[in-house]
Structure formats: structure tokens, C-alpha cells
């Protein structure tokens, strides 16, 4: 079946350092969504990318969707302790499916 992997699994950074998580799907995705899950919390929607090669920014966060629509990345510039959590990418395999396939997640720890 379709698999979505993320690397790294864990990342510890010093506050102020940058952070990137990479998302790779075994098959083409119709879209990519990114979620943040705080420890003990629920996934919170961050953004959606739909077009091949699309790049979107939200303050210190930059999201990219690959040209082949099989990979994506999330880059955080100058991390803050409030960025702590697990970042999941997720996507739909086709446009007519309800099933959102989540990536394996990257857990970010930020040390002050």
C-alpha cells in the first residue's frame, strides 16, 4: 500500500537554529497537508499545498511540494521553544478519496 515516510524521526535543536523535515511518498499525491501535534495533543492543520512545485510561507515556516508531487518539506527558520511538537505531513492519494495518509512524523525538541 501507499506509504509516506518522514525524516528525520527525531530532531533536537538549540533555540534559534533552523529545522527541516522531509516527507516522501511511495506514490503521487493529489495534495500535501502539514499538521503539528503538541505532546499529548491532537493534530492541528497548518497548511495545504496542491500544485506541483508549490512553495508557501507562514512567518518562519516554509513549505514546499515537490515537482513530482511525491515529496514535500517543512523548514522552520530560527526555531523557538513554542515550535516543540511532532510535525506530520499527510496527503490524499487521489482526488476522489477521503483517506488522508499520514507520514511517520518528525518529533522536534527545542532547547532554550
Amino acid at each position: 500500500g501507499q506509504q509516506v515516510m518522514q525524516i528525520p524521526q527525531y530532531q533536537h535543536v538549540q533555540e534559534g537554529e533552523d529545522f527541516t523535515t522531509y516527507c516522501n511518498s511511495s506514490t503521487t499525491l493529489s495534495n500535501i497537508q502539514w499538521y503539528k501535534q503538541r505532546p499529548g495533543g491532537h493534530p492541528v492543520f497548518l497548511i495545504q499545498l496542491v500544485k506541483s512545485g508549490e512553495v508557501k510561507k507562514q512567518k518562519r515556516l516554509t513549505f514546499q511540494f515537490g515537482e513530482a508531487k511525491k515529496n514535500s518539506s517543512l523548514h522552520i527558520t530560527a526555531t523557538q521553544t513554542t515550535d516543540v511538537g511532532t510535525y506530520f505531513c499527510a496527503g490524499h492519494g487521489t482526488y476522489n478519496t477521503d483517506k488522508l495518509i499520514f507520514g511517520t512524523g518528525t518529533r522536534l525538541q527545542v532547547f532554550p
Binding site: N31, H42, Q48, F88, H92, N96, T97, D98, L100, F102
Partner: protein, 114 residues
């Protein structure tokens, strides 16, 4: 901001017992979902529900699982005979449409089967 609400937040049940998890989706949303997350693992799709019927389900959603929308507001997940491996966080979610729409997750119901 409208929220998806779930009850209970935590339930402990004995193996073999039936469990019902309840959810109130966002009021104008048309699509409802259940996802689960085993501790420390990724979020997994269980089922989607639209127009009072299941529209899609995963291989995890076997005969011991069922969903229902008994009235205009609640959306429930029933597990008939719980197993130890059913221990997980169960997230209800809703969206205004399918496909490329944003999905809003509830805070989850943590199920522990002993």
C-alpha cells in the same frame, strides 16, 4: 472558532467489552472521520462517513468496528469486543467537503484496554 468535541477524553475498559466513543463534529460540516494513533506512532485513517453512510474505510476498520450518526449532531464509533491492541488515541474529525478540504481534528479519546 468552531471545534470538534469528543467524549470521553479517556476510557479504560476490560478486554472483550464494548466501547462507544462520541464526537460532535463542526455543525456545517458534511464529512466525518475517525482516525487512530497508537502511542508514539503515526495517525491512521479508520473510516469516513458522508450522507449517513460509510464512504470509505481502511483495512483496520474490520467487523468489530461500526460508526453511526444517531441524531443530527453526534457521530459515534463503536468497538464491539475490544482487544488489547485497540488501545490507542481515537481522533474524530470533520470537514466541509472531501478531497482537498481542511480536516479539523478533535482532541481525541484515549482508550486503554486492559
Amino acid at each position: 472558532e468552531p471545534e470538534v468535541t469528543q467524549t470521553p477524553s479517556h476510557q479504560v475498559t476490560q478486554m472483550g467489552q464494548e466501547v462507544i466513543l462520541r464526537c460532535v463534529p463542526i455543525s456545517n460540516h458534511l464529512y466525518f472521520y475517525w482516525y487512530r494513533q497508537i502511542l508514539g506512532q503515526k495517525v491512521e485513517f479508520l473510516v469516513s462517513f458522508y450522507n449517513n453512510e460509510i464512504s470509505e474505510k481502511s483495512e483496520i476498520f474490520d467487523d468489530q468496528f461500526s460508526v453511526e450518526r444517531p441524531d443530527g449532531s453526534n457521530f459515534t464509533l463503536k468497538i464491539r469486543s475490544t482487544k488489547l491492541e485497540d488501545s490507542a488515541m481515537y481522533f474524530c474529525a470533520s470537514s466541509p467537503g472531501t478531497g482537498l478540504n481542511t480536516i479539523y481534528f478533535g482532541e481525541g479519546s484515549w482508550l486503554t484496554v486492559v
